[in-house]
Symmetry: C2
Subunit: 262 residues, 2 copies
Amino acid sequence: MSKPLILVSNDDGITAKGIRTLVDIMKRIGDVVVVAPDGPQSGMGHAITVGETLRLEETTIFDGVRAFECSGTPADCVKIARHFVLKGESRQPDIVVSGINHGSNTSISVLYSGTMSAAIEGAIEGTPAIGFSLCDYSHNADFSHVEPYVESITRQVLARGLPKGVALNVNFPPKRHENIKGIRICRQSNAKWVEDFDQRFDPNGRRYFWMAGNFVNFDKGEDNDEWAIANNYVSVVPVQFDLTAHEAIARLNEEWDILGES
Amino acid sequence: MSKPLILVSNDDGITAKGIRTLVDIMKRIGDVVVVAPDGPQSGMGHAITVGETLRLEETTIFDGVRAFECSGTPADCVKIARHFVLKGESRQPDIVVSGINHGSNTSISVLYSGTMSAAIEGAIEGTPAIGFSLCDYSHNADFSHVEPYVESITRQVLARGLPKGVALNVNFPPKRHENIKGIRICRQSNAKWVEDFDQRFDPNGRRYFWMAGNFVNFDKGEDNDEWAIANNYVSVVPVQFDLTAHEAIARLNEEWDILGES
């Protein structure tokens, strides 16, 4: 029985502690190929590199693992893995895993998340895919409490597959005194960022800004990812790349009076 | 009766012909504020600028219109418009319009689209929002045939609003001999890009890549955006930012046997 082939990427860059943790866990499960950004790509959303060139270099930073660092975005990494690194090879990835991100990708942050863009790119290719994020932004975050969950969720997805067109957005609570309580299948909570632009002046007197923001949660439910994290559960949100608001189609067809002008 | 306040952005950059066309149309409808990238941002998806600074400068390139160019992404532009440029002012935008993009944003391209990220950012803020794209990538594309549609769709959305959490992804066929046949409310078609990485070597002998790709359409339906464009209709896809695959939640809750470990 052959081992699964696991493609690993992230958005914090190939030297981050989170991807090193993820690679170590995946080595227990299957054969691993890493294609990850050569530097931080946080907040890149589903960006791809259009109109600019890409670099790709093989690296030996992971012992015994075939690994490449790429100048592009997380979505670029998954594309170049499939259509260059593994092109023409007999095996294609059985699963794409991304992360473990240093920081939360719950709620609306899924849109801005490079971690999730790598996973969604896997799903677009028809491969089961998971983005893992730890709700702790620190560079040296403690991932020890999430390792068993990363392994069991990955094994579950390898065993059972995922619905067509769906990737998983998995978030973990930060290390707390009490143990994680378990896993909850969730919906994306209704929340948003309210930005604050910090205006400063450079040494030449020219204005620049830092974007900062506060996360505001409007959601009073208990079936969502923010609730799960706040209550020390692992949140698993199935995410789709068909963005159509199907229910709105009927409403627009009913209401609009500019549809008959053909 | 006061005129609506219209926020305009795009992803081709503030000097593109498409945004100039859009500003000219919007001036007929309301008061216009432009905040757009200072250079091309195509393919940026829903990227935001995290960990780097932003620039914002007022510009006079649109006669009689308050306009700003920003070093950030389309999503950054909408955020800085709301939370800096218009902060504390008595009027906030009644609608956000983005484009007109030089090139298609149908089907899966909605994920990679900076044009749509500006519109979706508007929807997250609770403002009706539309991304307009012309299926013609040329720098000097002919927008004349789409102007009446841009105006009528914008007026329709101002008059009737949009469902909560929904923005519109509007694509126009390129200028053809026959007239546009009308408007179709569509779903996102089932298609993807198959990438091809063109490997080259720089003058120092170091390898680099250009990402190229072919668009492959798997969709045989007639209710989708690709069909509409091919058949010379304007496609209007209602797009949501709740990415939850709600139907998958029940399936995962049924199937997974690692959920009871609390």
